[in-house]
């Protein structure tokens, strides 16, 4: 393999599809009998701002802390999105969907030797629902429909709902909703922010800021025979360094994802010792207009700008150089809720005939009296956001619109995003699961959701949003989601540009890890094992 590649030009390498490397798709199967022992060295791109999963949303925490904790439920290995129990041995929903009862595994031990009870689950959820003084909760609205939590006995937890919530299972399976020790929380509610003590497969050893994080196998882990690894070591490094470290075999894995160029470079270094995985990502790039600022209060202007984006062409080309990938609507392309590519063509800006799209865009601008439109496009100073910005500016140039790129520091970006201090911005949205409620919230009225950055008021969208959120019947819900998207594209308060692609490269020694459309799950490493080095 390595011999052959020398004959290929660099350009050919860049253009080469990922399939060359025998990409494993989502439905992976385990290779051989799991082996015990070894320390998994992997990279994480950023430093954790806290140790507390309840108070953060960044993978920088998840990729280090997940192996130390358990959750009520989890996604089944190699079978996303099927749900299985983690701490819960079994569970059931009442027919009216208003009561959920969980039966916990007996003899689950914390790393300090104490036994986990239903009270620990209740205390952990109570902390996320109503955080005490000095504690925050990063996803508080997700718990909005939970009315009460009861603990009839030490192994039973009952969640009483205020209303039917079609996406409540996402909350129980969420990797963020880790279970802490109730006793520790009583003593100091913010204890988990600086300390690690859970029931997960690995106990905490040390964290050296900016350098590494070490975990060691927890012998008292409640799942028999697991984990397989003796320990793990998460090393902090910039993405460019990861590429060299992975291809130079200094580390064995990185779980967030690479750009296609980086992936190919690593595979050139690893040859047969590398494995690649690819999937669309629960993360999409958007163009947000500030609907409060003229001329973006004019639907014709917004729609014209959306029409100008050649999403199909952009997808083909940008997916070769960046983490931008598939064309999609407002729910993840490829998920059960998504329209097919053919169906997408009904939306403005998704038609295949770009000349027609651009002509229509120019007509709309003329009609709105904005032929010489020029505005500031705010953006972050990171990849692939800058790539998206360059792409959008070039696309708009082709309908005679001039966008001035303004890249600001992260803190300013969030401040402006929240306060409406922008005309238009390259925005992105990370969703926690494929559930439509989780992502469509980005597109509803500003008084309904803090994440609705376009600052629009659209009661019709709100109505469709609420209707789908309470619809238990999947087919009917999917229809409602489609209607929501039609309306949202027609109004174009903010529009998707492209969805991200997740490209993961592992050293072949790493086995038992599951690829999924989000980098937040399957990270407790309980099932991961290391194959011996090849001779």
């Amino acid at each position: 393999m390595a011999e052959d590649t020398h004959h290929l030009s660099r350009r050919a390498m860049l253009a080469m599809p990922a399939l060359v490397y025998g990409t494993a798709a989502l439905g992976q199967t385990p290779a051989g009998e799991p082996q015990r022992g070894g320390t998994l060295q992997y990279a994480v791109a950023a430093e954790p701002p806290t140790y507390d999963l309840h108070q953060t949303g960044t993978f920088a925490v998840m990729h280090r802390v997940a192996p130390h904790y358990s959750t009520l439920l989890q996604y089944e290995q190699f079978n996303y999105p099927n749900i299985v129990g983690d701490l819960a041995q079994s569970w059931e929903a009442a027919p009216d969907q208003l009561t959920y009862t969980f039966r916990l595994h007996p003899n689950v031990r914390f790393h300090d030797g104490t036994i986990l009870t239903s009270e620990d689950v209740r205390a952990s959820y109570a902390r996320m629902i109503a955080p005490p003084e000095g504690v925050t909760s990063n996803r508080q609205p997700a718990f909005g429909q939970i009315g009460a939590i009861e603990t009839p006995d030490p192994l039973t937890v009952v969640f009483k709902m205020k209303r039917v919530d079609a996406s409540i299972m996402d909350t129980f399976v969420s990797p963020w909703n880790s279970i802490f020790s109730a006793a520790r929380l009583r003593a100091e509610p913010n204890w988990p922010a600086r300390n690690i003590m859970g029931t997960g497969p690995f106990r905490f050893v040390e964290h050296v800021a900016g350098s590494h994080w070490v975990g060691q196998k927890f012998d008292g882990y409640f799942k028999q025979g697991k984990p397989y690894l003796d320990g793990f070591r998460a090393i902090t490094m910039a993405p460019s360094a990861m590429v060299n470290a992975l291809s130079g075999r200094q580390i064995l894995a990185e779980f967030r994802g690479f750009t296609p160029v980086e992936r190919d470079r690593i595979m050139r270094g690893l040859g047969a010792d590398g494995r690649t995985f690819e999937s669309s990502w629960m993360l999409h790039m958007l163009l947000s207009f500030n609907n409060e600022k003229p001329p973006f209060d004019d639907v014709r202007v917004r729609r014209a700008l959306s029409l100008a984006l050649d999403r199909w062409g952009g997808s083909t080309s940008l997916s070769r150089i960046s983490q931008l990938g598939a064309v999609g609507g407002m729910v993840r392309p490829g998920s059960e809720w998504s329209s097919t590519p053919a169906e997408m063509e009904r939306w403005p800006g998704y038609g295949r005939d770009m000349a027609a799209n651009r002509a229509e865009a120019r007509r709309l601008l003329r009609e709105a009296g904005q032929e010489n439109l020029s505005f500031t496009l705010m953006n972050r100073n990171h990849q692939p956001y800058v790539t998206a910005g360059i792409f959008v500016i070039d696309q708009l140039r082709q309908i005679g619109v001039r966008a001035e790129h303004q890249q600001v520091e992260l803190a300013s970006w969030y401040a402006n995003q929240g306060s409406g201090g922008f005309e238009a911005m390259i925005d992105s949205f990370t969703q926690l699961s494929d559930d439509p409620t989780n992502v469509l919230v980005k597109y509803i009225s500003k008084d309904r959701a803090g994440v609705a950055t376009a600052r629009a008021i659209d009661r019709e969208l709100d109505r469709l949003f609420d209707a789908q959120a309470q619809e238990i019947d999947k087919a009917k819900r999917k229809q409602l989601v489609g209607k929501f998207e039609d309306r949202a594209f027609e109004q174009a308060h903010l529009v998707p540009i492209l969805w991200f692609q997740r490209l993961v490269v592992l050293n072949r020694r790493v086995q038992g890890w599951t690829m999924s459309p989000t980098h937040m799950i399957y990270q407790d490493l309980a099932d991961v094992w290391l194959a011996p080095e090849r001779g």
């Binding site: 090393i235 060299n244 949205f429 994440v451």
Partner: protein, 317 residues
């Protein structure tokens, strides 16, 4: 001498206070704060109430003068506060990274002195000959080549020619000197070149100047072997300005590493700084600015004192 020293140290106080005040005000003018980055990044979905609560916890809701006085009180008692991003003491955040940055800076300084003094001297002795021209082109180029670009070229060279890339994790020198050097020698070279160029130019011009002074002429007229003259008289006097530039540039070097650390993925002060700035981690930025300013001011002081020691004329003035 002692009185001079005391006066100089006393003068540092208003300078540092000015830096502190200016930094504090400037940071507050920049929009955005760490709370939003912390809670709203990566799909975080929090209420305004929670944002406000977190601001209050970090003391960002207090009036600005109160915040400033709090910070000053902390500085005086050597308490730099906690990072608003990680919550860990700033001293700790800086502590784990400063060794690396300091080592790179020191190595760069060492490399540059090693190159610069002989180069500058030769260039001065053979003034306006081809040797001088070559050295001058080499040193002017040193001032021209951006160190981050030189770093990228170095990495590219190692990778394409030797199929090797430096280790990515930091190993302290006392644990494994070889591993440590394998990682840090490259950034030291990249920034050291510029540093060497600055020092070499200084050495050259000060030697030329010294050579013109009467006592050197006298010495030469007496027929003493020229090299000896240089070694005994010229070098000693020419070293003075060289020391100045080495000292002053050292402070700049620490600041200049901000860019180079990005290229080499070094977990040093520079990267910490860039990250702190991107998140508006006020407490950390303030501490880092004060640290760099303090290094700069101290270096100035040391240079001045050295002047006094090396040159009696200054001491007695």
């Amino acid at each position: 001498m002692l009185r001079y020293l005391a006066r100089r140290v006393a003068l540092m106080v208003p300078t540092l206070f000015g830096v502190a005040l200016l930094t504090f005000i400037m940071l507050r003018v920049v929009p955005g704060d760490v709370v939003e980055v912390k809670l709203r990044a990566d799909g975080g979905y929090v209420t305004t109430e929670i944002l406000e609560r977190e601001r209050a916890r970090l003391g960002l809701d207090k009036p600005l003068p109160v915040q400033f006085v709090d910070w000053m009180t902390g500085l005086v008692t050597l308490d730099l506060g906690n990072s608003m991003w990680t919550g860990r003491p700033v001293a700790e955040e800086i502590g784990v990274r400063i060794g690396l940055t300091f080592q790179v800076a020191l190595m760069a300084a060492f490399i540059s002195v090693l190159i610069a003094i002989p180069l500058g001297t030769i260039s001065a002795l053979y003034r306006d000959t081809w040797v001088d021209y070559v050295v001058r082109i080499f040193t002017i180029a040193g001032l021209a080549v951006p160190s981050f670009w030189l770093g990228m070229l170095l990495l590219l060279l190692l990778l394409t020619v030797f199929h090797w890339s430096p280790p990515v994790t930091y190993t302290p020198f006392y644990e494994n000197p070889l591993q440590n050097m394998a990682q840090l020698i490259w950034p030291a070279l990249a920034v050291g070149y510029r540093y060497a160029a600055v020092v070499a130019r200084m050495v050259r011009s000060s030697i030329i100047e010294v050579m013109r002074e009467d006592y050197i002429r006298t010495a030469r007229a007496k027929g003493v072997f020229e090299r000896l003259v240089v070694a005994r008289h010229a070098m000693r006097n020419a070293l003075l300005p060289a020391v100045t530039v080495i000292g002053l540039e050292f402070a700049f070097l620490l600041g200049g590493l901000v860019v180079t650390e990005q290229v080499f993925n070094l977990n040093g002060i520079g990267r910490l700084f860039v990250e702190a700035v991107s998140r508006n981690d006020f407490v950390l930025i303030q501490a880092l600015v004060m640290l760099l300013a303090a290094v700069f001011v101290t270096m100035n002081l040391i240079v001045d004192v050295l002047y006094g020691v090396l040159d009696p004329r200054v001491r007695n003035a």
